[in-house]
């Protein structure tokens, strides 16, 4: 029943190296996951580590520290590229959850319904990992290895989420059966860069429609050069082999396939509109 609260990354890594530790950030996945059981014997709290919290830009890259909360994202001064991430942040659970829960925790928990995953996939996010073998960067699409599975080796810690800077505007749409505190039936993150009103580059990812969130590369290619008026038709005609939803208590698979398509088209159009996030 020990909670370790290191204040430096080095001591965190050395504690982690001893094994038997569960990493704790905001705790909004760790504690509910216990159901009503006892907490793990050894918890390593990373929320107090100096330098792990906050968002900064350096060398053409944005860095979201592993202890950065969703509220930090909402309050950060970020370019339109991050509009989708900000919208997603506001849709995570409730203010209480946003105040504690971290972006990195959302990725590490790797729920198929994690709202942060599609939106960060659309941003081509990389996950920065540190461990006994030093530091490495893993594309988010590789980091999420399956439902509730991530590419982390023993002794490794996620230290940041890295996002390449670039042109484009983000959008995010979440579909749920009520307004707040709702697990997504489906959600879409999109980042669209335009040139003269037409799509220069589209990046789109969908979550809750399969074991892991997926980038939609086929649609992305098909959309290159499209004007807003073409989007609905192109999305309607697309194959979308990436979607592999199931029936669950929230919705049927048939519905998810159908609704995801609507959300994709809307998210793309939203990312082409004038900036909408304050």
């Amino acid at each position: 029943m020990t909670l370790y609260r290191p204040d430096s990354l080095d001591s965190a890594l050395s504690l982690l190296g001893k094994g038997g530790m569960t990493v704790l950030a905001g705790g909004t996945d760790v504690y509910p996951g216990l159901r009503d059981g006892a907490p793990p014997a050894h918890l390593l709290d990373i929320s107090g580590i100096a330098g792990l919290r906050g968002i900064a830009r350096a060398g053409g890259q944005w860095r979201i520290g592993a202890a950065t909360t969703w509220t930090d994202v909402i309050r950060a001064d970020l370019p339109p590229l991050f509009d989708g991430l900000k919208l997603a942040a506001r849709e995570v659970g409730s203010v209480q959850i946003q105040n504690s829960g971290t972006v990195a925790g959302n990725l590490c928990n790797a729920s198929p319904a994690a709202d942060g995953v599609p939106v960060l996939m659309a941003l081509d996010a990389l996950v920065e990992v540190q461990g006994p073998g030093g530091s490495r960067q893993v594309p988010l699409t590789d980091f999420i290895a399956g439902p509730r599975a991530v590419a982390l080796d023993p002794g490794e810690l996620v230290t940041a989420v890295l996002i390449p800077d670039g042109p484009g505007q983000g959008a995010f749409l979440k579909l749920g059966a009520r307004r707040y505190l709702v697990i997504s039936i489906a959600m879409v993150g999109a980042v669209i860069a335009t040139r003269s009103g037409r799509i220069d580059r589209a990046r789109v990812a969908v979550g809750s429609c399969g074991p892991v969130a997926r980038r939609l590369t086929g649609v992305e290619t098909a959309l290159t050069g499209a004007a807003p008026g073409d989007v609905a038709r192109l999305v309607a005609a697309a194959d979308l082999p990436e979607l592999a939803p199931i029936d669950d208590v929230r919705a049927t698979a048939t519905y998810r396939n159908d609704a995801a398509r609507t959300l994709i088209a809307r998210a793309i159009l939203m990312a082409m509109e004038a900036p909408h996030v304050a």
Binding site: D36, V95, A177, Y180, I185
Partner: protein
């Protein structure tokens, strides 16, 4: 370096005080604040971040204490509701605003709501409604429908005092409200003594299973438990139930568990022992289970005396429905179904017990203290007087806290051990095992003549009553009486069947089956109106019951049938809403507006059964006016309403009355808080008691009927014609003056065709819903609900509005999102109830048609509010899209599927 706390202790600043609490740093902060620091205003509703009841400010930011490690609060500032209200002007003003607006009903969500709101208000800006909803959206409330909470937060700048005085018709602030808004209220899990042992129930992991225990004594000794209980330990009868003749539920299953979550044993020990307990020695043999009525006749019998697993049936017939339907100009019919609905109160069941000599005292959150007392006496093999029930504040009930849950376990353990024992259900335990609203499968046909008059209705309803009867017989009886709705239906036949399955027992939930039958009846009336080419409101106005009309049981009300007035007051709103929708729909986008109306009615009190209430009142020799009020206030406001009625009848201000109770040693039986009976029945007892005491006092002073009474400085003051006299009260043991009065509503039994006078009073309601459907996604956004309710006379109009708004929120949940799937939705993120963002603006219109029996003409109200909501929502979805939802809830996937199916059918028709 490390930020670690010294092992085993947490230092933090709680509400301004630096404290050190013994705790493991990995414990949930909520547990440490409650158990270690005594901050009982931190509520635990789910332990999973889902309900927000445990919200505290951590360095000023609202977080859920239940998902925060205690060690993460080391060295930081924690603020809770009680501390905020005690120390901060902002929170003080907010508390007053909550009282002014009656934003706290049961009060269990109030700490989370107020703490979140303080975080918003501290910024100093005047918030908008949207900001309030965003900030408070993470706190669930099952009572209020959120509207009064929003209003209170928006009005928190004002420092006005709540209305403390007022007779009948005045919106007096809740008399028991201040503890709820100040963080000092004590609920089921807040009153156990610190030395109480902890009890945990061992439950079946299968829907149906036989089981065998291992070496229980060995397990107890090895693990350091104080006691293990099984069926073998029950001194009285291992059987309880709420309806005479249907007591069929064991405290502990014997040999076979009949539903997932059924108790088979209990372990009792110190908290640490329970927390570290290894697997309990029991082996299970899963058996084939049946979860739906469809398979019930072929399934194994749950109870040996109930063939085909039929628990009971209900029947009402009048005229000749079959012949009238055959001749009707227009007939519509349909099949409708609803699922299990969970009560979803934010306070899980909790109880503690201690043995006092040869008596047992049980503190618990209950709606029915005397019923609990008598049932416990049977289980413990004691006389009823040997059991004392001390109800705590109840954090929501809605019907489910009528039945025994935690009480028998703690009572039995405390009885045997002679030590106090406590138990609080976990959220999943609560959802899995407490009673539910009955799932329904309904077939109904309704016919009208060419002029649009209803000529006949036929109704067939099957209700899944789960493994045990609970209130199933009540549902089976009530539904056929109500399934016509409040409409004149000369030819009628309604049958209902309650069927046992291997699921949690279905019991009482606001409306006892009537909300389910209304889903069928009100949707069919819309279809019928369409067939007739009639306006839907006009169709209802034309057909609704009026004074002098017989109901389907042949009962005639000469006064007080106010449904026509409810429809009439909606008319201008209806015209406005239809025009608004037409304008919006002319834009031709994927967003379609819909408008619809539904009616409902509900008989107050038990069906054709004596159900008296008794009120006792006394004046002490010191001149204090004590009201022994045993009608449990579960948030609906009986403490306030009953006192207002009593004070009015006695002729004194409410502030002169001190409330005592509820407590089975001190308050006489006021019956159960259910069936919308407390205002009507206990209210009448209070009126009689007030009048009797008034007569006694006036006689004492030999003054006339118009004299005024006041209690002042240890005496009664009587004033008449400008002359005031003091009457000293005789010094004696007990009360100087005392009255006990009872009221039992006049009802008549039903004959074999269900004809008779089942209720002395019916309340009626009509609600209009405006909404918008995203036809591409199937999502529904509610825009406004306009609700007209005939309450006879509103004793306290603000409480009436609170009931209406709360009922509507539950109706919205029933319509759009709620369904308990046994074994699958046993938490508050898979079982969804409406949040603050899901309940639209509600306009309540109170209709006061009076009543021949009710106190000052008041009728009951609790259940009525919910009945028209779901069908009105479904009718509005159909109005918007043409798609009709037959199987609830109308989740986005179902709405979208219905829209697509309708389009396909239209395409085929044009091919």
């Amino acid at each position: 370096m490390s930020l670690d706390a010294p092992e085993g202790h947490i230092d933090l600043t709680l509400n301004g005080d630096r404290i050190t609490v013994p705790a493991a740093a990995t414990d949930r902060l909520s547990d440490v604040l409650r158990d270690g620091a005594g901050a009982l205003d931190v509520k635990v509703g789910c332990n999973a971040g889902d309900c927000g009841a445990c919200t505290v400010l951590l360095d000023g930011a609202p977080v859920c204490a239940c998902v925060t490690a205690a060690g993460q609060a080391q060295g930081r500032h924690v603020e809770t509701q009680a501390g905020l209200v005690a120390h901060s002007d902002t929170a003080q003003r907010l508390a007053k605003a909550f009282q002014r607006h009656q934003a706290a009903q049961c009060g269990i969500c109030t700490p989370g709501m107020m703490v979140s709101a303080v975080a918003l208000l501290r910024s100093g800006a005047t918030p908008t409604e949207a900001q309030v909803a965003d900030m408070l959206g993470g706190v669930l409330c099952r009572c209020t429908g959120y509207r009064k909470i929003i209003a209170a937060v928006l009005d928190a700048a004002s420092d006005d005092d709540p209305l403390a005085e007022g007779g009948i018709g005045q919106p007096v602030a809740r008399l028991d409200g201040w503890p709820k808004v100040a963080g000092t209220e004590r609920f089921g899990d807040d009153v156990a003594p610190p030395e109480a042992l902890v009890l945990r129930v061992i439950r079946s992991p299968f829907h149906r299973a036989t089981f065998r225990f291992g070496d229980l004594d060995g397990f107890r000794d090895r693990t350091g438990l104080d006691l293990i209980l099984t069926a073998a330990d029950i001194p009285g009868e291992n059987r309880f139930g709420v309806i005479p003749g249907f007591e069929d539920q064991p405290v502990f299953a014997e040999h076979e568990a009949r539903f997932k979550g059924e108790a088979v044993a209990a372990v009792i020990g110190r908290k640490e022992v329970i927390a570290a307990l290894p697997d309990f020695p029991v082996t299970w043999q899963e058996r084939r289970a049946n979860l739906t009525p469809a398979g019930a006749a072929k399934a194994a019998m749950l109870h040996p005396d109930r063939a085909d697993n039929v628990m009971c049936r209900g029947y009402v017939a009048r005229g000749n429905a079959e012949a009238a339907l055959a001749q009707a100009a227009h007939v519509v019919s349909g099949d409708f179904s609803t699922g299990f609905i969970e009560h979803g109160y934010i306070e899980p069941e909790a109880a503690s017990a201690r043995r006092v000599g040869d008596r047992i005292e049980v503190h618990c959150c209950t709606q029915a203290p005397y019923m609990n007392r008598d049932e416990l006496a049977g289980i413990l093999g004691l006389a009823p007087e040997a059991v004392r029930i001390l109800p705590t504040a109840v954090g929501g009930g809605f019907g489910s806290k009528l039945d025994l849950t935690a009480q028998p376990f703690v009572a039995l353990a405390a009885w045997i051990l002679g030590q106090p024992v406590r138990l609080a259900y976990s959220r999943s335990e609560s959802i899995a095992t407490s009673t539910k609203r009955h799932p329904s499968e309904i077939h109904m046909e309704i016919g009208a003549d060419a002029t649009g008059r209803i000529v006949a209705a036929r109704f067939e309803g099957t209700f899944n009553t789960g493994a045990y009867a609970s209130w199933g017989p009540t549902v089976a009886n009530r539904v056929p009486i109500h399934a016509s709705g409040p409409y004149l239906t000369p030819n009628y036949q309604a049958r209902s069947t309650g069927v046992h399955t291997n699921t949690a027992p279905a019991g009482a939930f606001r409306g006892f089956g009537v909300p389910q039958s209304a889903v069928a009846q009100e949707q069919l009336y819309d279809l019928l109106a369409a067939r007739l080419g009639m306006d839907r409101l006009e169709f209802r106005r034309r057909n609704c019951l009026r004074n002098g009309d017989p109901t389907v049981t042949g009962q005639v009300f000469d006064t007080g049938m106010g449904i026509d007035a409810c429809f009439d007051v909606l008319k201008p709103h209806w015209d406005r809403a239809l025009a608004d929708a037409a304008t919006a729909n002319a834009r031709g986008t994927h967003l379609r507006r819909g408008v619809a109306v539904a009616g409902g009615w509900y008989g107050c009190g038990n069906t054709s059964m004596s159900n008296p209430s008794t009120i006792r009142a006394g004046v002490t020799s010191a001149g204090e006016m004590m009201l022994h009020q045993g009608a449990v206030d579960i948030g609906q406001g009986s403490n306030t309403v009953i006192t207002q009625i009593f004070a009015q009848a006695l002729g004194v201000p409410v502030s002169q009355v001190t409330l005592i109770g509820p407590d089975t040693d001190q308050t006489p039986d006021a019956g159960k808080t259910s069936a919308s009976r407390q205002t009507f029945i206990t209210g009448n007892a209070a009126r009689l008691a007030g009048a009797a005491l008034r007569a006694q006092i006036l006689r004492l002073g030999n003054v006339g009927a118009e004299a005024t009474i006041a209690f002042r400085d240890g005496a009664v003051e009587l004033s008449e014609d400008g002359v005031t006299r003091r009457i000293d009260l005789p010094a004696r043991d007990g009360y100087a003056l005392e009255v006990v009065e009872s009221y039992d509503p006049p009802t008549l039994p039903l004959d074999e065709n269900g004809q008779g006078a089942p209720y002395a009073v019916f309340g009626t309601a009509a609600q209009m819903v405006e909404l918008e459907v995203d036809t591409e996604l199937g999502t529904v956004r509610l825009l406004k609900v306009t609700a007209a309710h005939d309450v006879g006379k509103a004793i306290n109009p603000l409480l009436v509005e609170g009931q209406i708004e709360g009922g509507i929120a539950q109706g919205i949940g029933l319509a759009l999102m709620e369904e308990f799937l046994p074994g699958r939705t046993e938490n508050l993120h898979d079982y969804l109830i409406p949040t603050m963002g899901d309940v639209p603006d509600i306009r309540s219109i109170i209709v006061e048609s009076g009543d021949a029996h009710g106190p000052y003409g008041a009728k009951g109200l609790g259940e009525h509010c919910l009945i028209p909501t779901a069908p009105a929502v479904l009718n509005a979805i159909a109005d918007a899209t043409g798609a009709r939802i037959h199987h609830l809830p109308a989740t986005p996937d179902r709405v979208r599927a219905a829209i697509l199916a309708r389009r396909d059918a239209a395409d085929r028709a044009t091919e």
